[in-house]
């Protein structure tokens, strides 16, 4: 069943890579977007169990309805200044495609904004900042009324190795 569906999903994914709905959230006064299909769930902040010997951006794990999910602080990951969590702080649980399986990871953001329908021609490719910079984790830039929203390729935000490491910790 899954095998039959996979080409269709693939197609949907292909078409919705650019043209489609995005969940937008704010981080350090900037708006970011993640493809809505990559989002599993949005939850409010809850107690995080910290895990020793993990990178600094890995905050720990939560128990989501019987599932243990690793939590990554996106501020820490992006090298931003960390702030204390507020009542607006949310965890977005995303599905990340690994080599062999999809992994659920929660990312901590400042606030969740809305679900936006963005047209394909409103999205522009990532500008080249230079050969040295790795811009693979950015899918594109969405031009909206409020300004530019950075669309993240969440699969690439965390490298495979990191994911493996996190999994190893689990």
């Amino acid at each position: 069943m899954t095998k039959d569906k996979s080409p269709m999903d693939q197609a949907i994914k292909e078409t919705s890579i650019k043209n489609g709905k995005y969940l937008t959230f704010s981080l350090e006064q900037e708006e970011y977007g993640i493809g809505i299909l990559k989002v599993k769930e949005i939850i409010g902040m809850m107690p995080i169990t910290s895990v020793p010997r993990t990178p600094r951006f890995v905050k720990g794990v939560i128990n989501l309805r019987g599932k243990v999910i690793p939590i990554v602080d996106l501020r820490a990951k992006f090298g931003m200044e960390s702030i204390p969590y507020t009542e607006r702080t949310c965890i977005i649980v995303v599905e990340i495609d690994s080599k062999d399986a999809t992994v659920l990871i929660g990312i901590v953001v400042d606030a969740v904004s809305e679900v936006l329908n963005i047209h394909g021609d409103e999205i522009e490719d990532t500008p080249a900042f230079g050969t040295h910079l790795d811009t693979e984790y950015i899918m594109g830039m969405a031009k909206t009324e409020g300004g530019v929203k950075i669309l993240l390729n969440i699969d690439r935000v965390l490298s495979i190795k990191e994911i493996q490491n996190i999994q190893g910790v689990m």
């Binding site: 709905k21 809505i36 299909l37 769930e41 949005i42 939850i43 409010g44 969740v112 809305e114």
Partner: protein
């Protein structure tokens, strides 16, 4: 003094003055007599003594002058004058002796005269000696001149002779040299001609040359005649023989040479050699002779020069000695002459040297003559010098002798002068003394007279005046005092009645005051009541303010609760939003099937957003309300404080009003007491008025008695001072009357009289002036 009677006082004063005058006069007469005696002594003895001494000294000085002149010039005119002066000196001495016999006081004069006489005697002897020495010196000088002349004549003759010899020798030598030079010329010419002839082959010319040589023989003969030296003569002979040989050889050579080539060469050569040899001998001799002559010439010249120098030295020395002698006489210094003489001793050395180089007997004789003259000169000079020194010594002795005389004269004159000075000083001193004593005595007498007069006058007038002044003053004081008493008792009566009137006025106003005070008290209690009411009102206001405060805090609490509810609503909205988003995610995952669900989710989200917005607004409103409530609470507490202050102040006002009420009551009591005192005062014042009237009448009586006393005093003044000072006492009396009749100007006049009284104590003559009239009356 005070106990003595007036007559004794006056006669005692005059007696004292007369005694002083007698003492002064006696002293002056005594002093004058002393001065007169001294002056007579001065005129008769001391002045003639000084005069004599001065004359003697003058004569001796002139004598010394003349003698000194004689000593320098040896002129007899001076000596004559000196003898005249000597006569004058002796005359002065005689006068001195005469004075000595006559005088009484001149003790030293005799001794001094003897000393002067001794000096003059010595001087006379020395004068004769001086004349003798001068004559001898004149002789010496004659000798000096003569020998000097001889010395000079001989020396000059010697010099002239030497010069003459020098010239002769020079001429001779020159002549000889000229001859020899001629000889050489001849020889040279002959040789030249000879050689020329040989060269030109002219044998005749050789003969001519041989003939020319003849002239050389005459020259040689001349030379021989004037030469005296043996060497020279031999040389001349050798030259002559050489010349003859040369001539012979030439004469022999000529014929042989004429033969020319045919001539015998040997003979020619021999003759040529002979010619050459002779020529050489001739030339050599000539040259030697010439040389010898030149040497001799220079030697002779040197000798002559030496001699002439010596002779000149001799002359110079002679001249030096003479100059020295003259210079010494001109300068009057024997030392210069001595030096010149020592210098002259060198002449003998010079003459010896001259003798050694002189050969001619004539000159030697002359040198001896010069030596002799020099010796004579020297002897004469030493004699002259000895005499001169002796005369100088005599001169010194003479000066000493004359100085002795002069010293005696000076002593005499000094003694006379000092005695004169002493006498004059004594006279001046005694006259000065007399004058000073007289002046002082006169001044003292004047002062004593004035003092006596003053004291006697004073002794009489002062006590009388004092008595009158005392009486007058007493009467005045009594009069003024009585008038004062009268006026003051009158004014006292007036014052008493005035006091009574004013006391009545005071009493009525006190009653008014009493009623006012009562009213005050009532008003104060009313105000107290009102204040209490106000206090009540303030308390009520305070209570309601407290109520307001509590309700405000309740409002505040309610608002807080409301805001909590709002927060909950906000949270719910947030959760709803999350749910809506999750729903949207799910719808998206569902794809086409979830499209409708997506719309619903969106709407739900919108609702949630709106709820959140509303909650936010409400929260803002509630916050505002809370803020305002807090402000109200603050205002209430401020108002509360103000009310409590008002309450306090009203309490204080109440207290004060109570105090005022109490004070008013006390005042009313006090006023009643004052009223009582015033009525008592009224009584006393009335009694005072009665007393004052009584004293006024008593004083009037006193005043009349004082006036009578003053009249008695005026009579006494008239008695003492006479009618001249009557006006004074009368004016005094009218003055006092005016005081008594005008009590209004009492204070001014009282001051005046007091001032007079005080000044009277210091200067009594102001009240009773002591002018000239008073004195004349006295």
């Amino acid at each position: 003094m005070k106990n003595l009677s007036l007559g004794i006082k006056i006669s005692g004063g005059f007696g004292l003055l007369i005694l002083m005058a007698i003492a002064l006069g006696g002293m002056a007469v005594w002093k004058m007599n002393t001065v007169k005696t001294q002056s007579v002594m001065l005129a008769d003895e001391y002045v003639p003594e000084v005069e004599m001494a001065m004359e003697l000294r003058g004569a001796v000085n002139r004598l010394m002058y003349e003698m000194r002149g004689y000593g320098y010039t040896e002129d007899d005119a001076f000596y004559q004058k000196a003898q005249e002066e000597m006569a004058a000196v002796e005359k002065a001495l005689d006068a001195g002796r005469l004075l000595d016999e006559k005088a009484v006081n001149l003790e030293k004069l005799k001794g001094n005269l003897d000393q002067a006489t001794q000096g003059i005697h010595d001087y006379k002897a020395l004068m004769e000696k001086t004349v003798d020495t001068s004559v001898e010196m004149a002789k010496n000088r004659e000798t000096l001149y003569k020998s000097a002349a001889e010395y000079m004549t001989n020396s000059n003759a010697l010099l002239a002779h030497e010069n003459e010899l020098f010239e002769t020798n020079l001429a001779e030598r020159q002549h000889k040299i000229a001859q020899v030079s001629q000889l050489v010329d001849i020889g040279t010419n002959v040789r030249v001609m000879n050689y020329k002839a040989q060269a030109n082959n002219q044998p005749d010319m050789i003969n001519a040359a041989a003939d020319k040589l003849d002239s050389a023989f005459t020259v040689l003969d001349n030379l021989r005649s004037i030469s005296s030296d043996q060497g020279d003569i031999r040389r001349i002979d050798a030259t002559a023989s050489a010349a003859r040989n040369y001539q012979d050889a030439m004469k022999a050579f000529a014929p042989e040479f004429r033969k020319g080539m045919l001539g015998d060469h040997d003979i020619l050569a021999r003759l040529k050699a002979q010619m050459d040899k002779n020529v050489a001998v001739y030339t050599n001799n000539c040259n030697e002779y010439l040389k010898g002559q030149q040497e001799k010439l220079s030697r002779d010249m040197m000798d002559r020069h030496h001699k002439i120098t010596l002779v000149n030295d001799v002359i110079d020395l002679g001249n030096d000695a003479r100059i020295g002698a003259f210079k010494a006489q001109a300068l009057r210094s024997p030392a210069v002459m001595k030096t010149a003489m020592e210098h002259f001793f060198k002449v003998n050395d010079k003459l010896d040297a001259l003798k050694a180089v002189t050969h001619s007997s004539e000159n030697l004789k002359k040198i001896e003559a010069v030596r002799q003259a020099g010796n004579t000169y020297k002897t004469a000079m030493s004699d002259f010098l000895t005499n001169w020194i002796r005369r100088e010594e005599i001169g010194h002795q003479r000066v000493k002798a004359s100085e002795m005389t002069i010293a005696a004269c000076n002593t005499t004159a000094d003694t006379g002068m000092s005695a004169t000075n002493d006498v004059a000083d004594g006279a001046v001193a005694s006259l000065g003394n007399a004058s000073t004593v007289m002046t002082i005595g006169l001044i003292a007498a004047l002062i004593v007279g004035c003092l006596i007069a003053f004291f006697i006058t004073r002794g009489i007038t002062v006590p009388v005046n004092r008595i009158i002044a005392g009486l007058n003053e007493g009467a005045n004081q009594v009069a003024s005092a009585s008038s004062q008493v009268s006026s003051s008792s009158q004014s006292m009566a007036e014052g008493a009645s005035q006091q009574a009137a004013s006391i009545e006025e005071t009493s009525s106003s006190m009653e008014e005051m009493s009623s006012m005070t009562k009213k005050n008290s009532e008003n104060a209690s009313h105000a107290d009541h009102l204040m209490k009411e106000a206090n009540q009102v303030v308390k009520t206001a305070n209570d309601s303010m407290d109520d307001l405060n509590t309700s405000m805090s309740e409002i505040s609490k309610a608002s807080e609760e409301t805001s909590k509810i709002i927060k909950t609503i906000d949270e719910i909205a947030f959760q709803t939003n999350l749910l809506a988003l999750n729903a949207a995610v799910e719808a998206a995952r569902a794809g086409e099937a979830g499209a409708g669900f997506a719309v619903v989710a969106d709407e739900v989200r919108n609702l949630a957003m709106r709820a959140a917005e509303a909650a936010k607004n409400t929260a803002t409103l509630i916050e505002d309300t809370v803020k305002k409530v807090n402000q109200g609470a603050e205002l209430v507490s401020t108002t509360n404080e103000a009310f409590s202050q008002v309450a306090q102040s009203s309490g204080k006002v109440g207290e004060i009003v109570t105090e005022i009420s109490e004070a008013s009551n006390e005042q009313a009591n006090g006023i009643e007491q004052v009223n009582l005192a015033i009525s008592e005062m009224d009584k006393v014042v009335q009694q005072n008025a009665a007393n004052a009237e009584e004293s006024a009448s008593a004083s009037e009586e006193m005043s009349a008695q004082a006036e009578q006393l003053k009249e008695y005093v005026g009579d006494l003044v008239l008695l003492v001072k006479g009618s001249g000072s009557q006006n004074e006492s009368i004016s005094g009396r009218t003055h006092i009357k005016s005081i008594a009749s005008s009590p209004t100007s009492m204070y001014a006049t009282k001051k005046k009289t007091l001032g007079q009284a005080s000044s009277r104590e210091v200067r009594p003559d102001q009240v009773i002036p002591l002018d000239d009239d008073d004195f004349t009356d006295f």
